[in-house]
Symmetry: D2
Subunit: 338 residues, 4 copies
């Protein structure tokens, strides 16, 4: 029995810099000052955010230089066939565009790596994708596919595994599929992130997993990530923030504080500037702290216990299966036209 190495590649558009610059002007400022270019688009029900990080941006936000495309269907449910179809279509379009500069030859190989731990439901999306590809009647003969398992199980670094195959196979492209952690529980299983920067641990200490990237392997690496878990302290801080903002917004609207509110179905605009001091009578000075300050407080309080917990949708198994099917279908369509 070994430690679990949960993938911790947060979504780019949850970086503080990206989140905090919401208006057009703020974005221009962001771009000029920090080397990060953000652009929002829609394709039907799919919200797409393109983030371009250059060398300067990499220093600023600790996210690697390159292109990040985030596709979300905020209202997606398991039964929403239309939503999944729109998501697959938009993913295919953007996947094509991301790779259109590659000049394919007949015997070029594509190495597809399904990361993650098959026995932990929300981490199993990579292995499930490989299973789905295996079960196809016709497998594209460009594909070489593996689910390497996690380091604890195999006795070997996943990054080294991929490097070993890349050296020998010399693929034209490596595609890495992985479950991600998100900071926003509302985005769980409703978002796909594409990036040409590969898989890379953040600037945090202690993470010894090797990077899987062009820089390490000499081969372009595209990562497809689906957020399937939130850490417990993140969820808690997130929840407190949402609760406080909901009440502040309501108080602002109604012009009257109330000690015990029923919020039910009413949902405030979470990005609006709010005067949090309106609710200090009930929630104290704490209400005016930033979300990050509160999260730090929770992390300190629960250092020992809650960091071992993960938060995931109750129907995680069905979501994982849907995404494995969707990505398998998208990759097959894309490859058939190369």
């Amino acid at each position: 029995m070994q430690n679990l190495n949960w993938e911790r590649s947060d979504l780019i558009d949850e970086s503080d810099e990206v989140v905090l610059h919401q208006t057009r002007e703020q974005k221009q400022t962001l771009e000029q000052s920090s080397g990060i270019q953000v652009e929002d688009r829609n394709a039907g029900r799919v919200k797409i955010t393109d983030v371009q990080v250059n060398g300067e941006g990499e220093k600023q936000i600790g996210k690697k230089q390159g292109q990040y495309i985030t596709l979300s269907v905020p209202t997606l449910t398991l039964e929403d066939k239309d939503g999944f179809q729109q998501l697959e279509k938009a993913l295919l379009t953007n996947f094509k565009k991301l790779h259109e500069s590659i000049a394919w030859k007949d015997d070029d190989k594509i190495l597809i790596i399904g990361l993650g731990n098959r026995t932990i439901t929300p981490d199993a999306i990579g292995p499930y994708l490989i299973d789905h590809l295996h079960s196809l009647e016709q497998i594209d003969d460009k594909f070489v596919m593996y689910a390497p398992g996690v380091t604890g199980q195999t006795g070997y670094e996943t990054g080294e595994f991929v490097a070993a195959l890349a050296e020998r196979i010399k693929p034209k492209l490596i595609i890495v599929v992985d479950a991600l952690a998100t900071r926003a529980s509302s985005r769980l299983c409703k978002t796909v992130q594409l990036t040409d920067t590969g898989i890379h641990p953040g600037s945090g200490v202690g993470n010894q997993r090797q990077e899987i990237s062009f820089e390490m392997l000499g081969v372009p690496v595209t990562a497809i990530g689906i957020p399937t878990v939130v850490d417990a302290p993140v969820l808690i801080a997130d929840a407190v923030e949402l609760m406080l903002r909901s009440i502040a917004a309501r108080v602002a609207e109604r012009g009257k504080p109330s000690s015990k509110l029923s919020l039910s179905s009413w949902q405030p605009d979470t990005n609006k500037e709010l005067d949090m001091s309106l609710i200090t009578p009930i929630f104290g000075e704490w209400a005016t702290w930033s979300k990050e300050e509160r999260q730090q407080l929770f992390e300190e309080t629960f250092a020992a216990s809650h960091s071992q917990l993960m938060v995931t949708p109750k129907e995680a198994d069905y979501w994982i299966d849907k995404y494995a099917t969707l990505i398998s279908s998208m990759l097959t369509k894309w490859a058939s036209e190369l």
Copy 2:
């Protein structure tokens, strides 16, 4: 694809009445007034709580009349062989005692039902137990074993399934093994609850799962439950409570409020009476609310979204496997001596 019916049989010793009466005197009062008898014991590292609920108690706390034995090893970790051994030993002792009044005949059958959904890791403990029993070299010929799956998968009520088998097999005893939800994230995968009351939905509306109990089936039903998940709103309220109490305790101790505290490793006695008003300057009047009031606020805020989330240990798969092995071993030893 069908809805998931997560088992919601909360632990008896998380009932407010049980929790709030901690001292010997309080317990006596509780017993006299409400028909609930609580007794704490230790068996090595295993903390054991016996709760006896009579007819009066059932009305008071909505927990069914009968005996509840909760066994916990608060410091249990996955690598802690000694802890698991002590837990298995204590479980066996108490399991024997719970069934000592049964007069076994040679051809008596014991129906073992592993509840839960195999594809959701923290809910898979029942099916995994049945797998473990199947893989034994020697299966006790008293045992009849099934993992019925969840209603959505089979098109049929689990309770009806058990009733159908009970009618035909006429077992002397039914043992039902199930994953439970807990209110205390610190107890996840560190506790086992034994009860002779079977499996029974709470007083909550909308739960159409049938009870599995002596009253329904005419056969004694023993339930073995292991808490493997916490609901997200429960976790959040729990976390806020713990955070506020930690700070209040610290403030009380140091005699000085501080706006941004480092709490790190210091852990307060969570049951101590605390003057929460000490921290209202920072946290507002809200700090003086009861945990339940705060939880209700979170539940209202997140009605739509977070109720679909579950919180579970990151290494849930290993925990599940450990408990399936432990219970399989305990049941086999117990049955071999009948």
Copy 3:
């Protein structure tokens, strides 16, 4: 670990009486004398044999009174989409016809039982079917579905399990899906047998599995069987028979015996009357024995060892999956029109 109960429900059209009466006149004689009515049809590439056994027939051939419909695509391969589609279509047509006399009410239930052992590939077709039905987006709410596992695993007779559910659910119809043994290796995974007689052990001694049938349960039982294995002695006798007939046919044709023949691609008509004495110079008097006499000799020789062996297609896993998909699809279409 327990004994394996491989299903031994041979195909009806492999009964000697059915096999030996090939011409129209022979069939009429068979019908009059023995109460067995045989009719061959074709539906595109699907060969269909209808066998009707009455009370007299049951005594004659030891096959239960009732209707048996065998559908075969002799040239079926794993890649043959058209073949599988034709087979599904013909199966649906015949399945409808077999049940057209049932008058369905709104809340009638259909109990679907997937027999067999999930861990033995060629025996896993029943459990795989149930898995396939589970994974459907929309499950017909008439369906109640279980894969009961094998007696050794559960400590309980499969027949008793089905009886228990039937008593409680009171279904309008029970559908049992199972892997079968065949005598003809060429039919492995290329044939489906439908029958309204349920599952019933032959007249052989020692088989203690309970019958699953209308007579036992008071509910109509339709069995869908797919031959996926041959017993080793059957295969050997079959092979020797085919070899001897091939050579005899060739000798007859060429008019000259030859001591060491190359038979390669040439395939004789296996049903033609052949003068086996032509090959006694090489193969001895033995060549003139009946296939059954030779099989008995092999069974005696290998009593101990080879009876523990089974013969199955190398790609059994893919075949099983194909049939689980086909039957799941057929049942769903059929039920949607009730």
Copy 4:
């Protein structure tokens, strides 16, 4: 869906040269003339055959130069704990001896490869071994472990996969575990073969799988093989041979031919010289052919059909599990003492 590459590495001691030289004198002759040295030993109930093939021997029998150790417990059954223990002990002793010349350093790695197809029961022994090793509480940190799957599933040669890892990891030793085909159905799941020659396709045409050997990888490769299947034509020829020899032996003994014999439990010495002409009255000249001539006849007759069939024990899943446990245990003990 892809073609299945069943491993075809026959057991060394089924080579004609090894089989036919049974006496001490014959063995000496074999050694001198053909470069093959054969030695039989016993360790309790375990029969051990050491075969040493040199360069000359490799040319003679088409088996690669090196050492082959075959361990068998002819009377092994699934319930035979003593037999499995003796087999594990003898395997460990011989495994140690085979590797005693390796001088281990602290950070040396051992690459363990579990070959085979997880979804085909008798081919799953390699993947099951890797699963067993994963599930151990303590995994030796020398081990790097993978079950690469089959070429059709991954789009990549298994040999290339191992080569890729070997190049990068630079292990001190590669251990390859695989299911084998045998010619003797009586040896199925009762034999383990150790060899330092790795995995190498025979001289047969059409097999494009790469060799996994010291010569290819520059690293010592030890293969552990367990025979779990027989090809259908091999089984048939084997069965006919056994039947004919049984009858001939009996006739010789009783001195009287009989047209329809009951052979039941009596088992002849299969290696004894027999006068097969005794049974030509019944079985013709064919009885005097060599087994190989008969097998060729069957292979020609069944070229199309039966070559797609495999013969395997009915309880293959339990056998596979037993061997995965045994080898996992043996490897762990061995590595713990390095």
